[in-house]
């Protein structure tokens, strides 16, 4: 039973692999079932037309990224004096990076580390918590199970930013606003992760496996950690990535909670710099180069991990 349920996840990873930019001939030669067959008889004009449309759309998605790469190499004068679509007269990328890393006593690297701390610790713990809970909901029948499900479903539908303000009132009443905890603790919960984990556990962890473990005398927690967790790896990767990006991108929560610049994540810090461009034009260049530096790590992460991500998404949307 579980093997058939697993099929979609498995098949997407294989399609992801075979969708590498191979020529149509190569695809057909490999006997690529559906794609190959549908591909046969395509006119080359269709290919050119569709590829051209996709390329134009790609330009739209790349313009801001292209702009920041080009303009991070410019001096402040060139930033305003020369065309934004091409390099300026001076090439001073390294000077700009040095300026970003050292201004305000090296506050930018600190923001980067803060973001890494919030996203890294937050996503790992949130994933562990939601996978354990999702597994429990999928694999045990107990009183209150429906209630927990309903409660968490409500949690998914309530917008995160609507909770940010009430959360501030709560945290200020116990005196932990403007600390690392204020941003970290709310990042530990992922109702979406719980749903994904419970759907996935229901399909990927066979009851027979758990029964066999019980007969061998494995404790209930041991069953989860040693038998179930390895089966849940695709779901774990997906939840981890989603939560990492969600925390990294969060703006309202840190804005509401933090007053001390030293605790800022990179998003809030850059916003702070940009806000100063009105009075001090050199902050335009600092913000531009800072934006480039903060985009690079996530862009690499997205490009490398896009495939894992997709497999997990399939799982969620097929069953959901």
């Amino acid at each position: 039973m579980s093997s058939t349920d697993n099929a979609p996840a498995g098949s997407t990873t294989t399609t992801a692999r075979r969708n590498k930019p191979l020529g149509n001939a190569a695809k057909a030669a490999r006997g690529d079932g559906r794609l190959g067959n549908r591909n046969a008889g395509r006119k080359p004009t269709t290919t050119i037309l569709v590829t051209a449309i996709l390329a134009i759309v790609a330009l739209y998605f790349l313009v801001p990224v292209y702009w920041v790469v080009i303009n991070a190499t410019k001096s402040t004068e060139d930033l305003f004096g020369t065309s934004g679509f091409w390099f300026g007269e001076s090439f001073q990328l390294w000077e700009n990076i040095k300026a970003v890393l050292s201004s305000n006593g090296g506050i930018f690297p600190r923001w980067g580390l803060n973001s890494l701390l919030y996203s890294g610790v937050g996503s790992v713990l949130a994933t562990y918590f939601s996978v354990a809970a999702g597994y429990a909901l999928a694999k045990y029948r107990f009183r209150g199970r429906k209630l927990v499900y309903g409660l968490v479903l409500g949690g998914v539908l309530v917008p995160g930013t609507a909770v940010a303000l009430p959360l501030f009132f709560l945290f200020s009443s116990i005196g932990i606003t403007n600390t690392y905890w204020a941003v970290l603790i709310p990042s530990l919960v992922s109702p979406f992760g719980l749903f994904l984990a419970s759907i996935y556990a229901g399909a990927a962890v066979p009851d027979e496996l758990l029964e066999a473990g019980r007969i061998d005398g494995v404790g209930e927690l041991g069953l989860f950690h040693r038998l179930a967790l390895p089966q849940l790896t695709p779901a774990i990767v997906t939840i981890l990535l989603f939560q990492f990006v969600a925390i990294w991108n969060n703006y309202m929560l840190p804005l509401v909670m933090l007053a001390d610049e030293k605790l800022y994540p990179i998003t809030l810090g850059l916003d702070n710099w940009r806000a100063q461009t009105d009075r001090l034009p050199e902050f335009y260049q600092l913000t531009t180069t800072g934006a480039l530096l903060s985009v690079i790590p996530l862009a690499i992460l997205i490009l490398v991990l896009q495939r894992f991500w997709r497999g997990g998404l399939t799982e969620g949307s097929i069953k959901g």
Binding site: R38, T51, L54, A136, L165, P166, M252, L298, L313
Partner: protein
């Protein structure tokens, strides 16, 4: 501890954080939304008194012209932006999956890339592309005789829509692609035997079968629209068109931190949450209802 305690032990860490950071704040917000704080003395120096206010805050929120206008603005924004984005995501997914394009892997990754760029940084980048003097786009458009002020009072809403569309189209496209991949190959075979055109395959097979994914993306997009905060707040300093109560969330933020009216802020937060909840529930209901009628 066979089946009695084991599930609760596994659930405990999640539930503790979930209750502490979602349920309790929501209950507190509901509590605050029914109270008013009265300051005694000229500057409130004689202390504060909390009193139960029934629905005063809700009435005040829903009769506040700026708050109502911000909701209307988000409805307009949502109708246009979500529609454009979902259509774009669907068309891109169908084109990529039609296998008639070269380098689908490259295009897919390119379209998805913006999702990894935080909304704040995306807004900063686009804002630089909106500012006259800094933006090459404004220069190029000006050179061909189109004078456009992306940050003008009427235009800025659509400049925000552009940022949101740019960020999330690729993400929604991936969800739709995942669903397209789940369509059994036999259906395509059968359609081909019947001599169906690509367009016919798209409208008669692919679109009906990706409805669940489309519903999912529409619901997430509606919730996202109601939450709109970072983009307009960042553009606020550059555009005269954006007031501090431009979106419902900005309004709640302004009442909490600028006007120190916690009751009003809480009432607005609750209204936003309930609205998101209702809209999602309606969308799910409509989806199920049409599904049953088919």
């Amino acid at each position: 501890m066979r089946s009695r305690t084991a599930p609760w032990v596994l659930l405990a860490p999640f539930l503790i954080v979930f209750i502490g950071t979602m349920i309790v704040p929501i209950i507190m917000a509901i509590g605050y939304s029914f109270t008013t704080v009265t300051r005694s003395g000229l500057l409130g120096e004689k202390g504060l008194t909390n009193s139960f206010a029934w629905f005063d805050n809700y009435v005040a929120a829903l009769t506040n012209a700026n708050f109502v206008a911000s909701i209307g603005r988000m409805i307009l924004f949502g109708i246009v932006q979500v529609t454009v984005m979902i259509i774009a995501a669907t068309v891109l997914a169908l084109l990529l999956e039609s296998a008639s394009a070269k380098w689908p892997g490259f295009f897919r990754a390119t379209y998805f890339l913006p999702y990894g760029i935080p909304g704040v940084i995306a807004t900063i980048l686009w804002s630089f592309l909106y500012i006259p003097g800094l933006s090459p786009i404004v220069d190029v458009l000006g050179a061909v005789g189109i004078d456009i002020d992306f940050l003008g009072p009427n235009m800025v809403l659509w400049s925000i829509a552009n940022i949101v569309t740019w960020t999330y189209t690729g993400y929604n496209m991936l969800i739709i692609i995942a669903q397209l991949k789940a369509i059994p190959g036999e259906l395509y075979e059968a359609a081909k035997l019947d001599g169906a055109s690509s367009l016919r395959v798209a409208t008669s097979i692919q679109l009906p079968l990706i409805r669940p994914a489309l519903m999912l993306t529409v619901i997430f997009s509606i919730i996202g629209t109601l939450q709109l905060f970072a983009e307009p707040r960042l553009l606020q300093t550059m555009s005269a068109g954006i007031t501090s109560e431009y979106t419902p969330n900005m309004s709640a933020y302004a009442f909490a931190f600028q006007y120190n009216d916690i009751g009003m802020a809480a009432a607005q937060s609750v209204i936003i949450a309930v609205a998101a909840f209702l809209l999602s529930a309606i969308a799910l209901g409509v989806s199920n209802w049409t599904e049953k009628r088919r």
